[in-house]
């Protein structure tokens, strides 16, 4: 009965709010998805933070700093949304450290050259935007509101990345090669950010019925590819997929087969940077312990003073 009312609400496009009744599995699915999303924003600061001290100009450095700060903010919006489901931030961080909660595999690839800052902004943020625009219509109120805020801030991220790529592509021969190399390395991992194909994605069923997800992995991936091909052409770079071609009949681009062995290998912890990313987060968290202690001690002292 309760479950029927819940589904009716969803079918009528009404949002579910924290105090509303919801099936256990709906809550579980959301905690898993939102926490994974939050952790991705936070871990995603590392590959870009890697280049802040080596940005090629003051302009580039200020932009990158602002962008990395935005990612931290997005992580916090998402942790807040997740906490409304009855899990504490402490537990969420613990799950990340224990390897129980995942984050997007894309951040387990290294950022080897400045062009990678271009590729990450253009492709990784571009793919994230396609996903997040769709999630603005997700059925859980706090998650949907978080997505609206994030989408507003995110479009500068993609544009700054594309600007870097465009500039390098029209630079010296070496710069163009760097840009092409970054595209070569980030293309496939970016389109795999949308997850397994629908035929191989067991969780999609309920997530669509409950309108947690509004479009399937394959639909989102196709939409990203359709948007991106033209952008690559304009700046004279080649997407590393020989099977990529326009299909008159479907009105979409056909594309080649993704390497799912590599995908699962990275998901399961064997990507180039999995270990490094997690250890860095654990270290930062442990080493910040004294700051949290001091802040609490200070707050306690203030209370005593005012009493």
């Amino acid at each position: 009965m309760k479950e029927e009312l819940f589904q009716q609400k969803i079918d009528k496009e009404q949002k579910i709010e924290p105090k509303d009744w919801m099936p256990q599995d709906y809550r579980k699915h959301l905690i898993r998805q939102i926490s994974q999303h939050a952790h991705s924003e936070i871990i995603g600061m590392q590959p870009e933070g890697n280049w802040i001290t080596r940005a090629p100009s003051l302009r580039a450095k200020m932009i990158l700093l602002a962008k990395v700060q935005d990612e931290a903010g997005h992580g916090l919006y998402l942790y807040s949304a997740c906490e409304t489901l009855g899990i504490s931030r402490q537990e969420l961080v613990q799950q990340l450290h224990d390897g129980k909660a995942k984050y997007s595999s894309i951040f387990n690839y290294p950022t080897l050259s400045w062009a990678d800052m271009g590729a990450v902004g253009w492709l990784v943020d571009g793919a994230a935007i396609v996903n997040q625009v769709s999630l603005q219509r997700t059925s859980y109120g706090p998650y949907a509101r978080g997505m609206v805020k994030i989408c507003k801030e995110e479009s500068f991220h993609q544009r700054q990345g594309y600007e870097i790529m465009a500039e390098m592509a029209k630079g010296t021969k070496e710069q163009k090669e760097m840009a092409q190399d970054a595209l070569n390395r980030f293309w496939w991992p970016s389109i795999m950010m949308f997850g397994p194909q629908d035929s191989n994605s067991p969780r999609t069923g309920n997530a669509m019925k409950w309108k947690i997800k509004r479009q399937t992995n394959d639909e989102l991936r196709q939409s990203f590819i359709d948007k991106t091909v033209g952008q690559a052409e304009i700046i004279g770079l080649t997407i590393p997929d020989s099977e990529l071609k326009w299909n008159e009949k479907t009105g979409h681009y056909d594309f080649g087969e993704m390497d799912w062995d590599e995908f699962w290998n990275v998901v399961n912890g064997n990507g180039p940077c999995n270990h490094q990313r997690l250890v860095h987060h654990q270290k930062a968290h442990t080493e910040g312990e004294w700051v949290r202690e001091a802040a609490k001690a200070y707050a306690k002292k203030q209370e005593l003073v005012t009493q």
Partner: protein, 94 residues
């Protein structure tokens, strides 16, 4: 590990003359830190002219299960709406 810090709900007035609107929350151990965190998290792009932070534990909310009983009584008082009244034909500015 330190236990969780206090949660503060954040309200922002986007410009003078408008009401403060709830935008989300922050974690902070005291009120000054709560304000600073809210500034850093919610107003990086000129979104506000004033911020309120309120300890989340002090907010009292109605329960969604009770919402019918809680809000129903207003349905049968249609005389609270101006459209309830019949105005003489031809009357203006009322």
């Amino acid at each position: 590990m330190t236990e969780n810090t206090i949660v503060w709900e954040v309200f922002i007035q986007s410009k003078n003359g408008l009401a403060h609107k709830h935008v989300g929350n922050v974690h902070a151990s005291d009120k000054v830190m709560a304000l600073e965190n809210a500034r850093e998290l919610y107003t990086r792009r000129n979104e506000g002219s004033c911020i309120w932070v309120v300890k989340a534990e002090y907010i009292v909310s109605s329960e969604s299960e009770d919402s019918e009983a809680f809000f129903d009584p207003s349905n049968d008082k249609i005389y609270r709406h101006p459209t309830f009244y019949t105005m003489p034909e031809g009357s203006k500015h009322i």
